[in-house]
């Protein structure tokens, strides 16, 4: 096993960013082990991020593979101007946008006629009791009702751990725009997630905020 990959496994104190930076440096030298670790770390969250936007499992796989292929080939060009995660997520976002432009929105988003076995939501399996399964249903439904920009903002923050500034960089917009999208996404989500929102109405909270 490569030293970079092994070191990140052994050192608990090392942050994810430092670990991934070491992996990228190792990948730049052609280290397949480091790449495999990075791949396995990013495939699940990228899958969850892409589910609603890509609409189809095969397209999710395409975007992920294109993204991580670009990481494999472009690791040598990574200069550390941003966190490794932000760099990788930016590649994924641009790859997704390219796919969305290449195909008609109708066939990409909000696909309703796919078979149940092929439904994107089934890409995620939650090994929990009925409560978690219900939350998953509500979340999937609520997220699918959000406008693309609001849903992606929320997903970049919650699925991929990006900060407000990093999301602005990834989506190529102002920080204020990110804050506004996040605000509206939270309000809309509360409207569609009564099981999660509890008794208090979201409008009241939004008005107070």
């Amino acid at each position: 096993m490569n030293n970079a990959a092994q070191g990140c496994e052994a050192s608990r104190a090392e942050s994810d960013d430092e670990c991934e930076l070491k992996w990228l440096h190792a990948i730049a030298l052609g280290d397949r082990t480091a790449f495999e670790r990075l791949y396995l770390r990013y495939h699940p969250p990228l899958t969850r991020f892409l589910i609603h936007s890509a609409g189809r499992p095969d397209l999710v796989d395409d975007v992920i593979n294109e993204t991580l292929w670009a990481v494999w080939r472009g690791a040598v060009h990574f200069r550390g101007d941003s966190k490794p995660r932000t760099w990788i997520v930016s590649i994924a976002y641009r790859t997704l946008m390219k796919h969305l432009r290449d195909r008609s929105r109708g066939s990409m988003l909000g696909t309703r006629d796919v078979a149940e076995a092929e439904h994107p939501a089934n890409l995620i399996d939650v090994e929990s009791g009925p409560d978690m399964a219900e939350q998953r249903e509500w979340l999937s439904h609520g997220l699918s009702l959000l406008p693309d920009e609001q849903r992606m903002t929320l997903e970049l923050a919650y699925l991929l751990g990006q900060s407000c500034e990093e999301i602005a960089e990834i989506m190529d917009c102002a920080i204020g725009t990110v804050k506004a999208r996040m605000f509206r996404a939270r309000v809309r989500l509360r409207n569609t997630l009564p099981g999660l929102a509890g008794e208090n109405g979201p409008e009241t909270e939004a008005e107070q905020a």
Binding site: G30, F35, R48, D125, V126
Partner: protein
């Protein structure tokens, strides 16, 4: 908006970034004081944490999918490595762009070198052809000027010194009469070397050495009788000296 409302709004806006751990320590500290006392923000924080947890809930199938996808990716990388090696790229890490860039650069340089070699070969071949054509016995292949003779000059057989007063036209008339031509001269053109004209030479080709010598003497005698000629004498070559 009073200060309390301002703090409430700031805290409410910070909640997603607190939930995903991207808020700074200063932001967390600022929000924590308000969260202690504001039930609305506490409720919102709890809701966003549940959403965050729900979105990130995962299972074993994800891992299986990721590993299957990784196998496909590894095959893709292996194919790229094989292609790079097939292209005679000897870089140690065929996976990176550096390698691909070097492979591309090496192929480009190899192509450039091939063009240079091809050009050199063409120049050599062209030079060889030029030299061969220059050395060719075919006079038609040579570069001919109007002043140059189309046939090799015959060997001079008479030496003539004309008078400086003799005009060029008169000299030419004398030579025509004697069947001679100028085939050489001294640097100052004071001494001319003469030979029978080509037609006469061809006609005499079958004649004997003695016949040619007789005609040469007749030409000398003719010229010696003409005014404007200071000296006329035979040139004795190896054949004449025998």
């Amino acid at each position: 908006m009073n200060p309390t409302d301002s703090i409430h709004r700031q805290t409410w806006d910070l909640i997603p970034w607190i939930v995903n751990h991207s808020a700074t320590a200063e932001q967390r500290e600022r929000a924590s004081g308000h969260l202690m006392t504001c039930s609305d923000c506490q409720e919102e924080l709890a809701l966003q944490e549940r959403i965050h947890a729900g979105m990130n809930a995962s299972g074993t199938r994800e891992d299986t999918r990721a590993r299957n996808a990784l196998q496909a990716m590894n095959r893709r990388i292996d194919e790229a490595v094989a292609q790079a090696r097939a292209a005679d790229v000897s870089a140690p890490s065929p996976s990176t762009d550096v390698t691909f860039a070097w492979a591309h650069r090496r192929r480009w340089l190899a192509g450039l070198a091939a063009v240079v070699v091809l050009q050199a070969c063409g120049l050599i071949a062209l030079g060889t052809l030029l030299l061969a054509s220059r050395d060719s016995a075919d006079p038609a292949a040579r570069y001919v000027t109007l002043s140059s003779s189309t046939s090799p000059a015959p060997a001079a057989s008479i030496r003539l010194v004309p008078s400086p007063a003799l005009r060029l036209g008169d000299l030419q008339s004398l030579l025509d009469e004697a069947g001679l031509q100028i085939v050489g001269s001294s640097p100052g053109s004071t001494i001319l070397a003469l030979a029978p004209v080509s037609g006469a030479t061809d006609a005499d080709a079958a004649r004997s050495q003695q016949e040619r010598r007789r005609r040469n003497l007749e030409s000398i005698e003719l010229l010696r009788k003409k005014p404007g000629i200071l000296l006329v004498e035979p040139i004795l070559g190896p054949a004449h000296s025998q």
